[in-house]
Symmetry: C2
Subunit: 173 residues, 2 copies
């Protein structure tokens, strides 16, 4: 097991747009590699049950493909409004379910902890987060859109916070 | 199919407490019968992924057991705060997923529509809603707790609003 990389999926949930970013680290002192990142988009024209099912299925597929053992997700304290908190909550519910069903350990980090992890500055702007993620992952371009960069940042944050020695065994499937 | 009752599951989602109520109607002019009602409770001491998975599994089991073809759920506009909207959203997400996976049609009603349906008064108190549900279902006691009564009320609201002729075929499983 010691030769296997540690793989973490970061998720930035939203009913309209859920960002994801999968980051691997080969050893405790090893560099970080992005395995995949992107967004799962659903349209307000589609029915809500279909939308949450689509997010759930896509996340299950990503987990099945990349086999992360851990999920990192942003802790939410504030939101523009109740409508937006509800939309985040719905997507968050199915993301947590996908993690539970696949046996992933889930870790929550505050927006400040995530920004701090990738920019050394808890109040960093979106552009600074994107650039920090780009540098830490050795990407030639900044990851876009914001939601994908935020998801990658959550995964990086977890890899920096949780001791390698305590990493969760990879999911066997 | 015409001899089969129409069965609706009402859901009042919350991460700590999700109310459910399953109501059947044998014909368009027939009386309403409660098949089951209650709550799915989870503890803040348990991990969040486990909690949403528990809600999801219990709802899937209820759907498998009673075979409703339709789900009625409250539309949310307001909430005490973002934390509470998020907690409702997470449970709502997995409830909608359970419906989508089982092929149920989902209908949303405002709190006013639901109160109006069971008490003829859009601003009814919790006690009035419980008593209205009791009368309409011919129960000897008011259904408790509130979350179960609210879920039954949502199911009743849907049966009153959606024409019997347009009812969705029962889920085959």
């Amino acid at each position: 097991m010691s030769d296997e990389p540690r793989i973490v999926i970061g998720v930035d949930p939203g009913t309209a747009l859920t960002g994801y970013g999968i980051v691997a680290q080969r050893s405790a002192s090893g560099g970080l590699v992005s395995l995949a990142f992107g967004t799962i988009a659903t349209s307000p024209r589609d029915e809500l049950p279909w939308r949450v099912q689509h997010i759930y299925r896509e996340l299950c597929e990503l987990i099945g493909l990349h086999r992360p053992a851990e999920m990192a997700i942003e802790k939410i304290y504030f939101s523009r409004n109740v409508r937006s908190a509800l939309a985040v909550g719905q997507a968050r519910g199915v993301a947590l379910l996908a993690a539970a069903q696949a046996g992933l350990a889930v870790y929550e980090y505050s927006p400040q902890e995530i920004k701090q992890a990738v920019t050394a500055h808890g109040q960093a702007s979106k552009e600074q987060v994107q650039e920090g993620v780009r540098l830490l992952l050795g990407l030639s371009q900044v990851p876009q859109p914001d939601d994908a960069a935020d998801a990658l940042a959550a995964a990086i944050c977890h890899l920096q916070h949780a001791p390698w020695a305590l990493r969760v065994a990879r999911v066997e499937g």
